[in-house]
Amino acid sequence: MDPIPSNHLEKAYNYYRNGQLSRASQLLVELIKHDPGHEEAWYLLSYVLKDLDRQIYAVQRVLRINPLNQKASIRLRKLSVLREEEDAGETLSSETAEGSPPQVTRYTEWTRDQQITDHGFSHTQRLKFRAHNFWRRFKMNWNIFAQSRLAILGLILVFIFGLLTIAYPILRNTVWASSVYDPITGFDMKVFPHPVPPGSRHLLGTDTLGRDVLSRLLAATPHTFVIGLTAAVATAIVGTLLSMAAAYFQGNVDTAITNLADVFIMLPAPVMMVIIGTRFREISPFVLGLFYGVLTGAGGTTLVMRAQAIQIVSKPFMEAAQIAGGGGRHIIFKHLLPSLLPLAALQMMVAVTGAVVADGFISFFGITRTISNWGTIIYDAFIYAGISGTGVPWYSLVPAAMCFSLFALGFYLISRGLHRVASPELRRR
């Protein structure tokens, strides 16, 4: 996990052997502060500490971390005997000395509740276990995810875009007058000549037609979100279904699906979207996203996920599930699907990037007449610059281009984090 602990433990052990107990305990405390679940550190601490009660506490902590630690339970038993003797010495009473060693209740703390020993689980207990379990799992996955700082950056980026999505309707209804800030027809009469560079009145300036760039950007954000997310969900569903079918039925079904995916992967998504776009000029971003999602879902996503699904199906635990009597439904929903979901999530994120760029591309070429879109903004910047001959105003071009990059980047970075979560070799710590 971290390079420091193992080294510290060794050093502490050496100090302990040389009799430098205080230095050893210093190191161990540091180590435990760093990682409170460090079994060996607690165990060694029980030797290093001088006070008997604290020694017992340290061993108890060991057993709480790992109830099966034989050495620790033996040591606890010994220490308890010592404790008992000490108590007896102090009170000068011989009551406790009945010959038999004291019963060590070594699991009481762990089991929390005496009831559990007779397996009468109450409903709430069970829920608590499940919730605890879920939380533990989530934390484990989160830790893996958060190891990559870029992944966190991605999360932040997407969150910011999420905020921007809500920002436009709010601003339109409160601060921004629609005559000025409408993404298509807006025009600021008080400023002349357009375009104006960024300033206090227009944070990102205006374009050649006098429209506020920031408001156009914000107005286009929901569109992008819809297209990206639809594509992502469609990709995941199609890819998961096809790859599961391939892995479960194998043989001819597998061959058919793989070859179909090979054909789908040849279909160039932007070209297909252009064809769709020329027919349905007013196409909604939802349908366009769906189209893109199905296209890539049946192509690349299926190929990637099928490889993983085949690997999972060939694992012995699938045979074990069969031996348990599980039919197709059980195997698919209890074993195959849960194992494939992380990879599906990863593919979703990649699809967002592709869909958004492809959509921007076709609206850049003016094929779909989507109301407002980052691609359209860039296209307008070029076209009107060409007409007016003033050159491309950077402030109406750069923000939209950056939006593309950052939006796609955000999702892509998240997918990198998810990849770490999804790959089993990292999971097994």
Binding site: Y107, W110, F129, H132, I323, A324, S339
Partner: protein, 332 residues
């Protein structure tokens, strides 16, 4: 050991499994690996039978055929039920599910045979869930009881852990618990101890024996280790390239091996006695995949006793040398 009332539980007749190899452009197989061929075995209620052989001799395939993870090419496996013997290759749907209640399997690899995303409770309770036995709280009680029986104490500290948090030995105990949770009559154990440390191996073996007595389980014990087989089994069958070449009561077989292959296997087992001497029987070469094997004796290529007779005749039939001791060799 387990009592024997002489009733046959599983009767395997002329079982064969061929795997196609080689494929033309349009996917037609042109030759076959004879993984199991003409395999006969009777297993009585309550006994433990061992199946010993080198890796690649078809032991595991046999186990998978008996548990119907694979479908046999020819032959039948008759399982004794209340309505008389039933061929398990013909089972479908509901009958199959009932069959799964009676026959379970313990897998070789405790790391891979459990879903890493499922808790120990979910893993062990899976057969109960699938078969719909008991309410949720019943299942929890049953699982916790059984976990304590397989020495995973206290059960509550294991129930909601994940497989990767357990050691190899603990995991194999969980696997045993999973196989026994629905109280099967017959368990196929496919090298359950081969992946474990020697230190925990004996513990697991003892546990399996105790459980056999406690739950009235019949074992088919698949292993490559003669010592393990000797420890666990009442009868041992020695397998070579998909066929049983010799089968007999454990001690009888180990002290009086008749087939040259068995003799060779035994001579490879170290004996902890410096004064012990014996004639080592040498066999050359290694085991090869039986792709479309010739009809002669399967052991012909490596056999020290092979002669012209063996070459010109089919694989030798099985003959009874002493009571309950059968050998398939012309020279025995």
């Amino acid at each position: 050991m387990a009592q024997k009332n002489g009733k046959t539980l599983v009767n395997i007749n002329k079982l064969s499994k061929l795997f196609p190899v080689g494929q033309g452009i349009f996917g037609k197989a042109d030759s076959f690996v004879h993984a199991v061929s003409d395999f006969n075995l009777q297993i009585k209620v309550g006994e433990s039978v061992g199946l010993v052989g080198e890796s690649g001799c078809g032991k595991t395939t046999t186990g998978k055929l008996i548990t119907r993870l694979l479908d046999p090419t020819t032959g039948n496996i008759l399982m004794d039920t209340e309505e008389g013997p039933v061929d398990i290759a013909l089972l479908k749907g509901k009958e199959m599910k009932t069959f799964r209640r009676r026959v379970q399997m313990i897998f070789q690899d405790p790391y891979e045979s459990m879903n890493p995303r499922m808790t120990i409770f979910d893993t062990v309770a899976e057969p109960l869930n699938v078969q719909g036995i008991g309410s949720m709280s019943d299942r929890e009680t049953m699982v916790a009881d059984l976990l304590e029986t397989v020495d995973l104490v206290p059960a509550s500290s294991f129930l909601f852990r994940y497989p990767h948090e357990l050691s190899g030995g603990q995991r194999q105990r969980v696997a045993i618990a999973r196989a026994l949770i629905i109280k099967p009559d017959f368990v196929v154990a496919d090298e359950p101890t081969s992946m474990l440390d020697v230190s925990v191996r004996t513990g697991v073996m003892n546990l399996m024996q105790d459980l056999a007595d406690q739950f009235d389980v019949t074992y088919l014990y698949i292993t490559h280790d003669l010592a393990v087989a000797r420890y666990m089994c009442d009868r041992i069958g020695v397998m070579y390239l998909g066929k049983i070449v010799e089968i007999g009561e454990t001690e009888d077989l180990l002290h009086n091996p008749k087939h040259p292959y068995t003799q060779a296997l035994l001579s490879a087992v170290p004996v902890p006695d410096p004064t012990y001497t014996r004639n080592p029987i040498k066999i050359s070469g290694g085991i090869t995949k039986p792709v479309d094997p010739p009809p002669q004796c399967r052991f012909y290529n490596r056999c020290p006793l092979a002669d012209e007779y063996c070459k010109t005749h089919d694989h030798p039939p099985r003959k009874e040398i002493t009571p309950n001791h059968y050998v398939a060799c012309y020279h025995a």
